[in-house]
């Protein structure tokens, strides 16, 4: 098979081609390895030299047939740099592999490389990486979104067949939207967090970034399940099926007024409305629903996530691993200088926010209140799902913005997650699919459902995907200077 044909294949198609014998897993790996090594978007922080030789099972006899996988830097991968985009973990190679990665490897995926990200997943543009910003393959002057920007850009540019990301407040869905690919945040607890370098433990969730909905289902199938090493992980109640729905007859789609009005860019709203019309053509009923507390989600999120991160990042103290400031004159000096030098500005900002929010005397006013808002938001969704099957919104309020455009104003950056954070706080699954272009840049359409409704989400997303016929090939042509 020639390289152009190889890069036209989705992951599921590549698995089938290997089954059919028209493609070998080695050929596939080498093609992507060569293309990824010409990465001009700064998607990768580390690339595998070659497919692992010590695989005991021939990859072609496994469900994923050795299809290469790009993995967000914050997943621990044994012996492979896992730096979470931070200077403080520069060169850190963990002694173990994260459960989500291990499960995909057991299913036959092959580690292609580690992808760039916002430092400790804090950001919406991947400009907060200690290893330089990632560029959007649709327009290299623009950001890919974040924090899983390296994973999203790599898949969009065809540098990886698919990628693993994490989503805390939108970090899979928003970059998927800005890069014109599919991104799924599963139900909180569906995928083990063991081995994910934590940002905000009660929100972090691993998920797929893929070229199409079928690939997302295929990857998710091999990620979910209870992990005895993660007390918050849950047994997935059914098998993740590959989607096949062609119609949306009788499916009630709820459109929350709070997330589809003010603050959403005109072109984005237009693409969203057009997609709703296509859904109705497929038989869906569109209803208006209320999520009265959703406008407060971002405020609550920016208390809770920093609070957890201020604690999660305390372990980076220079004592056991990672960077340590040299020539410190005492313990406090060592701590202070290690963390001063090792963390970037956004990480420090959130550590300070979170430390303040948890401080004695402020806890109830900030953390306690934000938790109550979180509960209200979950109740809003529950009430809405009594009336509709799924809730739909634009994924991000804007298309990809220019590098540097929002770095000086944190709040404008945080607003990127306006439509994705409510689902994160409620712990429910949500998927973003590309639904069209605005000013030549991709727009994402978000579908959310109740806990463990992944199969229904995937079916609805698949049915829409078929009629939308979004063409992602321009990003693959322009990305990374084409095939090697």
């Amino acid at each position: 098979m020639n390289n152009t044909d190889i890069f036209d294949l989705s992951s599921a198609q590549a698995v089938a081609a290997i089954d059919a014998g028209t493609l070998s897993s080695g050929e596939l790996f080498d093609a992507y390895r060569a293309r990824a090594s010409n990465d001009e978007l700064n998607c990768f922080t580390w690339l595998a030299e070659q497919a692992p030789k010590d695989a005991t099972t021939p990859p072609s006899q496994s469900p994923l047939n050795g299809v290469p996988l790009a993995v967000k830097d914050l997943f621990c991968t044994e012996g492979v740099p896992s730096q979470s985009g931070s200077r403080i973990l520069e060169g850190y190679r963990p002694p173990y592999t994260a459960t989500a990665v291990a499960r995909l490897e057991e299913a036959g995926a092959t580690l292609l490389g580690k992808t760039n990200q916002d430092e400790f997943a804090m950001g919406s543009s991947t400009e907060n990486s200690a290893y330089g910003p990632v560029r959007n393959p649709w327009d290299p002057e623009r950001v890919p979104g974040g924090s899983s920007g390296g994973s999203a850009a790599a898949v969009a540019a065809g540098l990886a067949p698919w990628a693993l990301g994490t989503d805390t407040g939108g970090s899979i869905r928003q970059p998927a939207a800005l890069c014109g690919i599919v991104g799924l945040k599963p139900t909180y607890g569906a995928v083990s967090r063991y081995g994910m370098i934590a940002f905000a433990s009660s929100l972090d969730q691993a998920g797929p970034l893929t070229r199409d909905v079928t690939d997302a289902a295929l990857m998710l199938r091999h990620m979910v399940g209870r992990d005895p090493r993660d007390a918050t992980s849950l047994q997935f109640p059914e098998e993740v099926s590959l989607p096949s729905a062609e119609r949306l007859d009788g499916v009630r789609l709820g459109v929350p007024q709070e997330l589809t009005g003010e603050g959403i860019e005109g072109g984005v709203l237009e693409a969203f409305q057009a997609t709703l019309a296509r859904a109705e053509e497929l038989g869906a009923q569109v209803h208006s629903v209320q999520l009265p507390h959703a406008p407060h989600a971002l405020s609550a999120y920016y208390i809770l996530a920093p609070a957890e991160c201020s604690s999660n990042l305390a372990r980076f103290d220079g004592v056991r691993y990672g960077a340590r400031a040299q020539d410190a004159h005492d313990l406090l000096d060592m701590y202070t200088r290690t963390r001063h030098d090792g963390f970037g500005a956004e990480v420090k900002r959130r550590i300070m926010l979170g430390t303040y929010a948890l401080s004695s005397g402020y806890y109830d006013a900030y953390y306690g209140r934000a938790q109550r808002v979180r509960t209200k938001i979950a109740e809003d969704f529950k009430a809405a799902f009594a009336e509709v099957d799924l809730i739909v919104t634009p994924t991000a309020p804007t298309v990809a913005f220019r590098l540097g455009e929002k770095t000086a104003d944190p709040w404008s950056m945080y607003l990127n997650d306006y439509c994705t954070v409510p689902m994160s706080l409620a712990g429910i699954p949500a998927i973003s699919i590309p639904c069209g272009l605005s000013e030549g840049l991709p727009v994402g359409f978000q579908i959310a459902g109740p806990v463990f409704s992944e199969n229904r989400l995937l079916d609805a997303a698949y049915a829409l995907e078929q009629v939308l016929g979004f063409d992602g090939s321009p990003a693959r042509v322009s990305g990374a200077g084409g095939p090697a």
Partner: protein, 492 residues
């Protein structure tokens, strides 16, 4: 000192950390160890490596419930782990997972001291400071052994119901016995499986409000706790008596110099920024867990003391002595149930166990685990049935008390059957017949001065006379009978 000197009464509460004797650590699968080479029982979880997550040890929860039941606590159907955030090299995650406002157990009491709460948490790693000072300041280097890090701890907090160092020590002995009886901990202060801090304040006698307290940290033996509390109480009483103020601070007691030094003041106190540990679910106590804990509960010292007193008929002192040292209680009960003829009366048997036997075995110094192996009669050569037989012979006056002690010496040294020793050594008691009368008469002649003093009313002067008789009879004579004969022959 002013004429109107106020008397200050001490008010003391204790915080006890107990390492639970689970197989594995509180939040990971590493085995507990003591004395193994450093950093050989570690994993990504207890090293706090990036990405690792805790999973609560169900066995530790089970032990926590047993402790709660033993102390009569209310057991929370749902309790929560919190993160206690602070930086220190022995704390690899930058926070300790502990329980905060929703602990596993609340309320309760042990003896006359009320329990405030019992909660579960993880132990810190062990820091060794290399260099002259032995403390982190001024050391050349500090090295960390993570073997201990993550060991399950139960923290037991009392209400401020104690009034002296001595009382604290006695109460801790009861607590230790209770915990040992439960089998939830080695409760060994030397190895650090039992650690105690004391909160100490004083207040004018008759008042209710609590004074400003200080916290005395990490005293590593019951004796030091008693002395440390005594020293701190005196310091506070003196300070207030001189018109000074007690400052809230954390203190260190140096048992060698009896000096108390400040570790940190209230101003330097940490803001621990507690918040619910998002990596763990709340601990939900199901009925089955309660039943399992209840089924595992042994008889506890207080109940045992009551039973020994009321059902076995021991004196209150003996009953407590045996009940509060489980090894003695177990040995006593084994001896009491031994089939021997003549059977020993329970009280006499208790006296022999707690007196002569313990004395010969090295006894309990109040520090070791039941006095260490040396003090535990169950691990001695003296079979419980042998002691029962011996006490039976003494009580039936088949042998004298002195002869009984000689037999016990042999049993402690070599073990064996008391009756066989009595027979082979010819230790059967002499009756009060002609032989003994003659020996007493000879003793009076040989100790004429003493005899004269006894006749003159000095009963204590009988010692040398009895000693003479015992020497002559190799201790076989019954002391009471000898005294009777002496008095008789002296015409008293």
């Amino acid at each position: 000192m002013s004429a109107a000197a106020v008397e200050y009464e001490p008010v003391i509460g204790l915080e006890i950390h107990v390492q639970l004797a689970t197989r594995t650590k509180m939040f990971c699968g590493c085995e507990l160890s003591f004395g193994d080479p450093p950093n050989t029982h570690t994993c990504p979880v207890c090293l706090g490596l990036p990405g690792s997550l805790p999973v609560a040890n169900a066995r530790a929860v089970h032990f926590g419930l047993m402790i709660g039941m033993a102390l009569g606590c209310e057991l929370a159907p749902r309790s929560i782990f919190h993160r206690k955030n602070y930086f220190y090299p022995d704390l690899p995650k930058g926070y300790q997972i502990s329980q905060y406002d929703e602990p596993l157990c609340s309320g309760g009491h042990l003896g006359d001291v009320r329990i405030h709460r019992v909660h579960l948490e993880e132990d810190a790693a062990k820091l060794v400071h290399v260099g002259a000072s032995g403390r982190i300041h001024g050391s050349d280097a500090s090295i960390v052994d993570f073997n201990r890090g993550g060991t399950p701890l139960a923290e037991i907090v009392t209400e401020p119901d104690l009034r002296s160092g001595e009382q604290a020590r006695e109460w801790l002995t009861l607590l230790r016995t209770t915990l040992r009886q439960l089998g939830v901990s080695d409760v060994n202060m030397e190895e650090g499986s039992l650690r105690c801090d004391a909160n100490i304040s004083v207040r004018p006698v008759g008042t209710q409000a609590l004074g400003v307290k200080t916290e005395l940290k990490n005293m590593n033996s019951f004796r030091f706790i008693e002395r440390g509390i005594r020293a701190e109480v005196s310091r506070q009483q003196k300070l207030l008596g001189e018109g000074g103020q007690v400052v809230q601070e954390t203190l260190h007691f140096d048992p060698a110099s009896e000096r108390i030094t400040s570790l940190r003041s209230k101003e330097e106190a940490h803001d621990y920024r507690y918040f619910p540990e998002p990596d763990l679910l709340p601990v939900a106590i199901e009925q089955a867990m309660l039943e399992e804990a209840r089924a595992a509960m042994p008889e506890l010292p207080a109940a045992r003391a009551q039973r020994l007193e009321q059902e076995v008929g021991l004196s209150s002192d003996s009953a407590h002595q045996l009940a509060f040292r489980a090894d003695l209680g177990d040995y006593f009960e084994a001896a009491l149930s031994a089939k021997v003829d003549p059977a020993p009366p329970a009280q006499a048997l208790a006296n022999w166990v707690a007196g002569d036997l313990v004395g010969r075995l090295g006894g309990d110094d109040g520090e070791g685990a039941g006095g260490g192996a040396g003090g535990d009669p169950n691990h001695s050569r003296v079979q419980a049935s042998a002691l029962a037989a011996l006490v039976g012979l003494v009580s039936a006056k088949r042998i004298s008390v002195g002869a009984g002690r000689q037999v016990l010496d042999r049993l402690v040294a070599e073990g064996g059957d008391p009756l066989a020793i009595v027979q082979s050594e010819g230790l059967e008691a002499m009756d009060g017949g002609e032989d003994l009368s003659a020996i007493v008469a000879a003793a009076l002649t040989a100790n004429a001065d003493a005899a004269e003093r006894v006749r003159g009313g000095n009963a204590k002067a009988i010692g040398p006379i009895i000693g003479h008789v015992m020497r002559e009879t190799k201790g076989r004579a019954d002391g009471g009978e000898v005294t009777r004969l002496v008095n008789e022959q002296l015409g008293l």
